[in-house]
Amino acid sequence: MYKLGNNNIQRRSLLAKLGRLLGSTVPYVGGGLATFASGSSDAQGMYSGTLRSLPELIDPIVKGAPLFKTRIRIEMPLLADNGNLVSLGIKSNLPMTQNEYVQKIYLLSQRNPVVQMALFYLGPWSGDANISTRVRLAGSQFIVALAQTSKGEFYYDQFDVIVTESACVDGS
């Protein structure tokens, strides 16, 4: 199923190119084991074969605002047996005070037919910006958690996950 040969190398060089595009302020964690896989999803009229790049995912939301890859972390299994239900935690140590707090957390998917898996609205009444949920994943990909603070800054993390059985496809 996984091809660790050419695909991975192409992916690494692609990510490196993307990193150069956005400048050195944004470090990119490339590589990982997420590979290209075509499934029966096409037969069901669902277009989810393409992997979106990180700028494609976050640029429509960030719109040039300051972006940092710190202080927020995704916690989920490296390998998910079943894409229909994958537990996912977002941990962050961003301040949650009256003056500065996390307003929104976007949960974005690289491959799912719907990019934005969920949008959480938080505030100083939340106390902290830690969230757990369970998501559906249409195949191996990286997940992005993007937090928007009240000062207009963005913090993100990405996590590579291998999904052996995609959601959206009837396994039976």
């Binding site: 999803s41 669902m46 229909n84 037919p113 719907v114 939340s126 969230i131 949920t133 559906r136 959601a167």
Partner: protein, 109 residues
């Protein structure tokens, strides 16, 4: 049988941060799957969930089809004096749900 459950973890004392677990029973049909006779099951997703503590919104989430069936959310809340947690949700076909959870907040004296 209730269709949702809400559980508060931690000390419900004013100013403390507690964790709230919310589980709603819902199929969250994506619209991509077919039933046994090959017809598409139409999309039906919970599109908005809010949790209020005495009218004040403490948590809101807009899920999409990327959230698993029977959506589960765990979030934090800095406890403020409130008597009831009210959870509301609505799905694509307009079915609304409500869960009322009475809470007993200890006030700092």
């Amino acid at each position: 049988m209730s269709i949702a459950r809400l559980q508060v973890l931690g000390d419900l004392r004013e100013g403390q941060i507690v964790r709230i677990r919310l589980l709603i029973q819902h199929a969250m049909d994506t619209g991509y799957l077919q039933n046994i006779s090959g017809q598409n099951i139409p999309r039906n997703i919970i599109k908005k969930i809010t949790c209020q503590a005495d009218q004040f919104e403490i948590f809101r989430v807009d899920p999409s089809s990327g959230i698993a069936a029977n959506p589960y959310f765990e979030f934090s809340w800095r406890v403020s004096p409130a008597k009831i947690l009210r959870t509301l949700w609505v799905d694509d076909i307009g079915v609304e749900g409500e869960l009322l959870t009475p809470i007993d907040v200890k006030i700092n004296s």
